[in-house]
């Protein structure tokens, strides 16, 4: 069994004058992550609910084991220790913080289920969510 997937981001703005697009600002990127040498591509997916004003550790890659299970029912392990990216959404307003060796190296915020994305390639990060409002979260982590 293997994993495949994609991360695709597409941003487009344009000044308009009537029906004419005068100036276009575009930024896009699409990636299909693959295995890194002997380390297979793995993902973990976390969902849940949190109250207002709380901090909750969601995923500690130092433990090398997430509670997320793949389609075969096996616990997902980031055997190489690397997280290549995260996507995070929260129905209220909350910040996802990724801590690496005591330093907060990732800090992205979601509100109203707007998806935030980071592409940091971190080694053994610990992810926590700091909420302002009560809500539900989704966190997708990919790496090796």
């Amino acid at each position: 069994m293997s994993i495949e997937g994609r991360i695709s981001i597409d941003v487009l703005f344009q000044d308009r004058d009537g029906t004419e697009s005068l100036k276009t600002v575009a930024l896009s990127g699409s990636e299909e992550p693959t295995a890194a040498g002997i380390y297979p591509l793995v993902i973990a997916h976390f969902t849940g609910s949190l109250g207002a004003g709380v901090t909750s550790t969601i995923f500690d890659s130092n433990n090398q084991t997430a509670t997320y299970r793949n389609a075969a029912g096996n616990l997902v392990r980031f055997s190489g220790g690397y997280v290549d990216g995260v996507a995070f959404s929260y129905s209220g307003r909350a910040t996802l913080v990724g801590n690496v060796e005591g330093n907060d190296e990732i800090q992205i915020t979601s509100r109203g289920n707007l998806v935030a994305v980071d592409q940091s390639r971190s080694f053994l990060p610990v992810f926590r969510i700091e909420t302002q409002d009560a809500g539900t979260y989704q966190l997708v982590v990919w790496g090796h």
Binding site: V11, L22, S28, G85, A87, D104, R111, Q119
Partner: protein, 138 residues
């Protein structure tokens, strides 16, 4: 003159067994911006850090040639073309810290007044692009 636009984020993974997709993990959203303002900051950087200062003072101009002044940013999209990750952060209040590599964008919601942006020092050279969105609130 008006401005409209969109920000789409689409993340999809699935376990595969032969040709069968067994377990699908999907996280995506698409937001249309019927109004508001955007500013773009682009450039080339070496290994040194780059301080952008207050983003309200960008030199970006709209289609009419007028400077775009931004007071309160709500969303930031950042991309760095280099092979080693580079971080963009807000050093006034440390409101966000996100990284991009190989042209893959990072995205965050970020409501703050007059942020001060900085791109970290790092390995190698590359080009950066930062898009700042003001107002809207879909």
């Amino acid at each position: 003159m008006t401005l409209d636009g969109r920000v789409n984020v689409d993340v999809l993974f699935h376990d595969k067994n032969g040709t069968s997709s067994i377990k699908v993990v999907s996280l995506n959203n698409s937001v249309e911006y019927p109004d508001g303002k955007v500013a773009v900051i682009t450039g080339t950087a070496g290994t040194a850090a780059v301080n952008f200062g207050y983003v309200g003072q960008t030199t970006y101009r709209n289609a009419a040639g007028q400077a775009v002044l931004i007071d309160s940013v709500e969303r930031v999209i950042f991309t760095w073309s280099g092979d080693f990750p580079r971080a963009l952060d807000e050093y006034g209040d440390t409101q966000f810290y996100m990284q991009s590599v190989s042209g893959m964008p990072a995205v965050t919601y970020f409501p703050v007044f007059m942020p001060e942006l900085r791109m970290s020092a790092g390995v190698g050279t590359g080009t950066y692009k930062i898009i700042l969105c003001e107002k809207f609130s879909p």
